[in-house]
Every structure is written in C-alpha cells, then in structure tokens.
C-alpha cells in the first residue's frame, strides 16, 4: 500500500537552521494494517506522514502508494489524496464553512461528488462518527464542543472514503470521553478493513490501537515491529524518550503472580484476564 524507500529530507539547507528532518527511512505499510508511529516531539513523526499523500517530497529516496511513484511529476496527487486521507493535528482549526454539512462536504466535493452522492457521503461519514446527521448538518461547526469539532473534522476526511486513514495526534486536547469515543471509532474502522496510521506520543493509546509500532528518533526509524515486542523491551522505549504504557507495567508485575497471564492491550482486558487466572 504505502512504501518508503531510503527517504531523506533536510530543512533550511546551508543555513544555521539546517535540520535533518528525516534520515534514510524505509518502511512498508500493508493493506488493512494498523500502525502507530511514535516518538518524542520533533522526532520527525509528523513530517513522515506528510510523505504518505505527497504533501512534501523527499530530497532523496522514493515514495510509493499502490505502486504509484509520488516523487514523479506524472502522478496525479489528487487520486493519491483520495486514497490516503490525512487528518492533521488540531484539524478543527481548518474550519471555514458556515454549516457542518458544507464543512464535511468540502473534501468529497473536491473529489467530484455532487448531489445525492455527496449528501450520502456526508451523512454516512457523520453517522459513522456517532452523530445524528439531520440534527447537526445545519449547525455552525464553530459552535460545537471540542470533541464534536474533532469528530466533524475527522468526518470531513472519512467522507472522501479513503483506503488509508492517517491521523496526526488525533486525541490531543480531548477530554476522557472524547478520547474514548475516538479510539473506539478508530479501532472499529480498522477492524472493518481500513488501513490505519496513528501518530501519537501517548503510549497507552498506541498499544490499544495498533499491533505494529514504528518508533522515530531524530528523524531516523529506530524500531519497526510488533507492539508487544516494543513495549516489553524497556531499554528501547526509554532510549526513544517514551514511557512504557501503564497496562504493560501492571501486566509485568501481575505476571509474577500469574505466570500464564496473556499479554493485554487495555486495562479492561487485563482485569478480565486476572479474574480468569484467579479462578
């Protein structure tokens, strides 16, 4: 689906601000996968995902989406952007429309949908994110609550029906409920077949959402593999500058009491597993 080959990028070359944002990164993300890209602030994770839909081009290396070479001038990037939906950080800051309908319809409208088809796309996207479309479409997007705004912004990408959904820190600034709603939604989307790329520095969320972790440090890929493997290897986690998720810490301690406790991704499943072990 998405393939990066030896991708590098440098900002402000030749000035004192010169900074290597991405250094020789190669990776492959297959159809239907759920991948979390983790790293500290400034590790290059947000820059990395902007390669996925051709927003930025590497100085060297190649980027492929479904075999199309994004570094070539012949590739129609609009088709790529329909395939790879990218949700920026704080996406509600891009709102400009008078109504929620117009806001969500902006993407699919740009992709050429009109009339009934456009309406259906908007309604489907909104209801998949837990809204009652008829109640919300005529409201101004600016008068919604923080969590609602975030979900409307994500709906505006979902309405384009992308095969890959890439989200840059989608839960930042949300309260507990907004966070939980969103994470459940994303897990759901992935289970129904959508490829998911999740950028975060919240390790508990990464563990919950993805079976695969890509860790970035100073623009380099330092880990790419199963999330259990990553989080059970404390030295890697700390060297990247991250924290071991609470669930993993608790699981490790409990494992001493219950040697056959299976690995758990959420607090709920951990509690269930412990209950079973006790019986």
């Amino acid at each position: 689906m998405i393939r990066l080959q030896d991708v590098s990028l440098t900002y402000d070359y030749g000035t004192i601000f010169q900074k290597t944002a991405i250094k020789n990164v190669s990776l492959f993300i297959g159809k239907g996968e759920s991948v979390s890209i983790v790293g500290k602030i400034g590790s290059g994770k947000s820059t990395l995902v902007q390669f996925f839909n051709g927003l930025i081009k590497p100085d060297s290396g190649k980027v492929f989406v479904d075999g199309a070479d994004l570094t070539s001038k012949k590739t129609d990037l609009r088709l790529v952007r329909k395939k790879v939906g990218l949700v920026f950080q704080y996406p509600e800051e891009q709102f400009f429309a008078e109504t929620v309908f117009e806001e969500v319809a902006f993407g699919p409208g740009n992709m050429g949908l009109t009339g009934e088809k456009l309406r259906n796309a908007v309604f489907e996207a909104l209801s998949s994110l837990g809204f009652e479309p008829n109640k919300i479409i005529n409201l101004s997007p600016f008068e919604l609550s923080g969590g609602e705004k975030r979900r409307v912004a994500i709906a505006s990408i979902i309405a384009m029906n992308p095969e890959v959904l890439v989200l840059d820190e989608p839960t930042s600034g949300l309260d507990f409920n907004g966070r939980k709603l969103l994470l459940d939604y994303l897990k759901n989307q992935n289970e129904s077949g959508r490829t998911l790329v999740f950028v975060t520095h919240n390790m508990d969320e990464a563990l919950q959402i993805s079976s695969r972790i890509i860790a970035m440090k100073d623009g380099e890929k330092v880990f790419d593999g199963k999330s259990e493997e990553f989080f059970l290897n404390e030295s890697i986690v700390y060297s990247v500058g991250l924290e071991v998720p609470f669930v993993v810490k608790a699981w490790k301690k409990l494992k001493k009491r219950f040697p056959d406790l299976p690995f758990c991704r959420t607090p709920d499943s951990l509690v269930m597993a412990v209950k079973e072990s006790v019986h």
């Binding site: 990028l9 440098t10 900002y11 402000d12 070359y13 030749g14 000035t15 004192i16 601000f17 902007q50 839909n53 927003l55 930025i56 100085d59 609009r78 952007r81 329909k82 939906g85 990218l86 949700v87 920026f88 996406p91 800051e93 891009q94 709102f95 400009f96 902006f106 993407g107 699919p108 409208g109 740009n110 992709m111 600016f142 505006s156 990408i157 384009m160």
Partner: protein, 266 residues
Amino acid sequence: MKTKFALGQYNYTNSILHRLDPRVKISLVFTVVIFLFFIKTISGYLVLFAFACMLVFLSKNSIYAVFRSLRPILILLVFTAVFQIFFTPGTVIFHWRFVKITGEGLKLAAYISIRLILLSFFTFILTSTTSGIELTDGFEALISPLKVFRFPAEEVSLMISISLRFVPVLFEEAERIMKAQISRGAEFNRGSLVKRAKSFLPLLLPLLLNALSRADRLAIAMESRGFVIGKKRTKYREMKLSKLDYVAIITTVFVFIVALMVREIV
C-alpha cells in the same frame, strides 16, 4: 531541499557592526540614504561603493547573501534603467529606426542604478546586523521625542515588534492550513481567476479566525504579566553609546564629505 520561510536577512553572528547601537545604525543609514541623492559624480559613488563593500566585509556577510538581497529590486532596477536609457532627451549617440539612445540617458541610467544598488546595500547591512527587537527598540528611542506632541511612541513600537514577531508564525500557520486543505482535495492554482480567488477562502478564513483568537490570548497573557498601556516600562537591554558608535558616526560623516567633495574623474 526545503527552505522554511525565513523573514528578514538577520545574520546570526557577532561582528563589529552587530555590536553598534541600533539607534546609531538606524539614523546613519537613514542619513546615508537621503544624502545619496545629493552626490552628483561617479567618483563620489565609487567612494561610497568602496565604503559599502568594507561594511559588508565587517558585517561578516557572505557575498552570496549580498547578491541575494538585491534580487527583490532587480526588476525595478532593470525597468528604471531601460526607461532612462530610451526616453531621456539629449545628444543622440545611437540611432536605429525609432530607438534613440542619448548620452544623458546612459548617464542618468547609470546614476539611478548605482543609487538603487547602494540604497539596497546599506539597508541590507542594517537589517543583517540588527535583530528585529533591536530595530524596534532603536526606532522607539528615536521617535520618543515625539511624545512631547502626544505621539504614542511606545505603543507604535510595540505594534511594530508584535507584527514582526508574528509574521513568521502566520506564514507557518498558513502553510499548515494549506496542507490540510490540500489533503481534503483543495487546489489553489487551478481554474479561472474567480475560481482561484474562491479557492483561497478555505485558507484565509481559518487563518483570520486563528489570528484573532491568538491576539486575544496574547492580550490576556500580556495583561497577566502586568502590561498596562501607557505605563512606563523598563528595558532589559539598555542602549548606551560606546566608543565604537562614535567611531562609526565620525567615519560615516567623513566618508560622506569625501564623496561629496571628490572631483569627477570621467
């Protein structure tokens, strides 16, 4: 190689010119730019040109940066020069059909080009050795005598420094919003003029809204740190004239007298 938006030409080093008092630098450049138009001889301009080259050397700027600073005025330069060459009346030295070139025209074109280049050189030297904060501080100090006439000098300089500070932030934000809208299939450079103008709405509107809310937050942050309009503020950087500043003033005045007095060599 991506280049992030970098406003201004400030060169982050430490040279003799960086250490000069911003008030001195601003007023000297201001005077130089005015008196530039009183010089009537090529040799006078050569003197100034040599002076400018010396200053560039002292400011530790690369030759490349100097030429890059000329780029924005290049079109203006070519346009005025061509205009002067072809449309100045006088003794014709070249004639072909309706095209006439006069000796006076050539001379005038040379003068104007040299003046523009020197103007750009001197302002470049100022902005490459003086940071935005120093510039506004210096500017504030220079216009503060106007307070006698109830001119709000501090407010004006605060306005200037805030705008200077937030221009790069706005540009960064514009880039971010643009990328986000492009991800939603927006296109900014396609279609008719009306369509293009319309396509900027999804960029400009969020930009404006975010700028307003940022201004609001900034005002609250300033007030919570005790800022009151019109109250006297102390400065972290006190501006004091040093020996170096007097040397700079005397040298500049001397060079100018030489440039004004020197005889024509051609």
